[in-house]
Amino acid sequence: MNNKKSLRQALGEEHVAGYIFSLPFIFGFLMFMLIPMVMSLYFSFCKYDIQNPAAFIGFKNYIDIFHDKSFWKALRVTVYYAFVGTPLKVIFALIVALILARDTKLTGFYRAAYYLPSIIGGSVAVAILWRRMFEPTGTINALLSILFPGMTNFNWFSEKSAIWVLIVLTVWQFGSSMLIFLSALKQINRELYEAAMVDGANKWKQFWKVTLPLLTPTVFFNLVQQTINSFLAFTQSKLITDGQPKDSTLFYTLYVYRKAFPSMGKSQMGYASALAWIMLVIISTVTALLFWSRSKWVYEE
């Protein structure tokens, strides 16, 4: 009886309750984040093929990576994808947000409709659909051949254009950035526009002088988030192009995956872990640079 009471008392205490409620997160964080990360750091210094025990080899993986042509290729492709795709996506999200910011009866519907691609965008089904659309005899070419009769069977999956198939897909998934822009737009004080109007500023000027400066913190947030997402993109590259042709769409994550789980032969999990840690350093550096640039262009009230 006494015991029970004390257990109830213990559970009633605030910090205990706090730990219990955060237990799912702590468990998930340890099991799926921290422990795997520590393990992968260790494996990155090993020759490890999953099926056999890991053998410590020091910095060999890291040294080999710097001589690995495919690594540099994958890095170039990913950086291109991130630095071209992300700004386009953020700009597109902003434009759509500006259009949908006005309140009409159908605005709610449109917002939901334009957000939809982001929900389903990373999915396997969309990736396969995207591939079908851009195939030589797919929908896109069928439409183009109606508009431009001379144009048939254009190969979108050529070395130069294949990456753009993926960039267009990421731009199409602008929904989450758009929602963040929408809420930020609502928070801009109406009085500022009225004051600008009184000063004779037209809509165009209002956008550049009022809206955009006040949105820069949101632009910054979206840019950071989407840049990181772009570096981590995987599904598109794996399913739509499988890195082809000639590794022109070989995303970094796909390269890591291929090393860890090759379609043939032994896994190079140690090498893949080293690649993943290099990616972590790169993303951290890029994010740090973005934060450093913050003071140069982000307007803080």
């Binding site: 099926q51 056999n52 195939e135 030589p136 050529s158 070395e159 789980f261 090759p262 379609s263």
Partner: protein, 477 residues
Amino acid sequence: MKKKVIAVVLASAMAMTLAACGGSAPAPAAEEKAEEQVEAVAEQAQEQAAEVAEAAAAGPYDPASAGEVKVGFGWWGNQVRDEVTIAALDHFTEMYPNVTFNPNAQAWNDYWAQMTSFSSSDTLPDLMQQDYAYFEQWVEAGDLLDLTPYVESGALDLSKLPQSIIDTGVSASDGHIYAVCAGMNAPGLSYNKTLTDELGIEVPDNMTWDQFVDISREIYEKSGVGVLWHNMNSENPITYFARGKGHEALFEADGVTVTPEEMTEYYTRLKTGVEEGWLFSTEKCASVDMATIPQSPLVFGSDPSVRSWCAFNFSNQYLAFSNAAEADGIELGITSWPEDNPTQANYLKPSQFFSITTDTQNPDLAVAVLNYLINDVEANTLLRAERGIPANTEVAAAIADEVSKVDASYPIIVNYLDFVGENSAPIFPPLPGYAGTVNTDVIQHLTEEALDPASSETAEDLAAAFVDEANQIASSY
């Protein structure tokens, strides 16, 4: 006294089992001596009696005694294979309602990624499909169950399989059986017979490379239909080429057998094909589906420019290709891959293996299922020889009529294998462990370069790179 009698019976039973296992039976000893021996081993025998009884029970293991269980079974393949395999497994469940299956069907690429991760967490399915090229790697990792004891106890009956086929599942490491051949096949060029008939082109067996080029050129000029090469990361075409040049295999323990001069010829072939237009370029390959049979350019595509008149595959895949071709209203034919010394290059091989993994909870039951898949006529009728002609020769004969009724392609495959049997050389040994890495890290890139008309690399460059890089991977393995 009674106890002693039992011991004698058990001991002699054990002696007989041992003799059977040993192959060479010891000369029958004098009766007195035997009695002494019996006395000596009596105690031991009593201790081992339980084990012997268990081993004897392992022979006629009754799956009905397994209780309610789910047996995992993993394979790679195609839709036809998935359907026939599930049908065969369902039939087993009909006989033993307590045994159900957890089938896990994947495409080739995804299969190995998944199985490798299962292997690290010791959650491999009870039975898994294995490949001739890679099963040694899995034996080495200790993931496959040694089947030799079950063959000896009779639980797994391989008596109707030709010894040469049983041997393909024997690991070089310890001479034990780790895999059983699921079916026989051979490299085969499936081709669009409807198209070649229309154009009045005859596709001969044992084509040389030049004959193949002439035919491909003619088809391309008359119809615009090209040729899709092998998978970019496949060693198969180079192995076949090397055999045509007189090597037994492509890979040896310490590197590749081919010389840069030979490989220059190989890459020149590809470059010429792309220049002349009939061979799919790297970019064109990227725009078509090379992984799934129903979308393969041999049977799919609404424009001649994305169609291939032939597909380099294996004879067992002919069934799935024929099914897909039928949907497209075309008839297929099958012949040997083109090569200059085709009878030297071609070979019969086990299409796949069935193995039991060390993660299985009930090896006896898994063996019973394996035995069913290999030796049961009904099972093999349901499997429709999709994995190749059954290795059990009696079963192969028994299902021929039934399967031919369902699949018009079956007699064609049997004929083709008969032809290959007479026009081929023995198969190369299983690939060394480093070969897979050569496929993904070397062959893929060089093939992409060779098939890229804009590439600045010459055939000589590619050939030298192939030999260098492959040997380097071999030496650092």
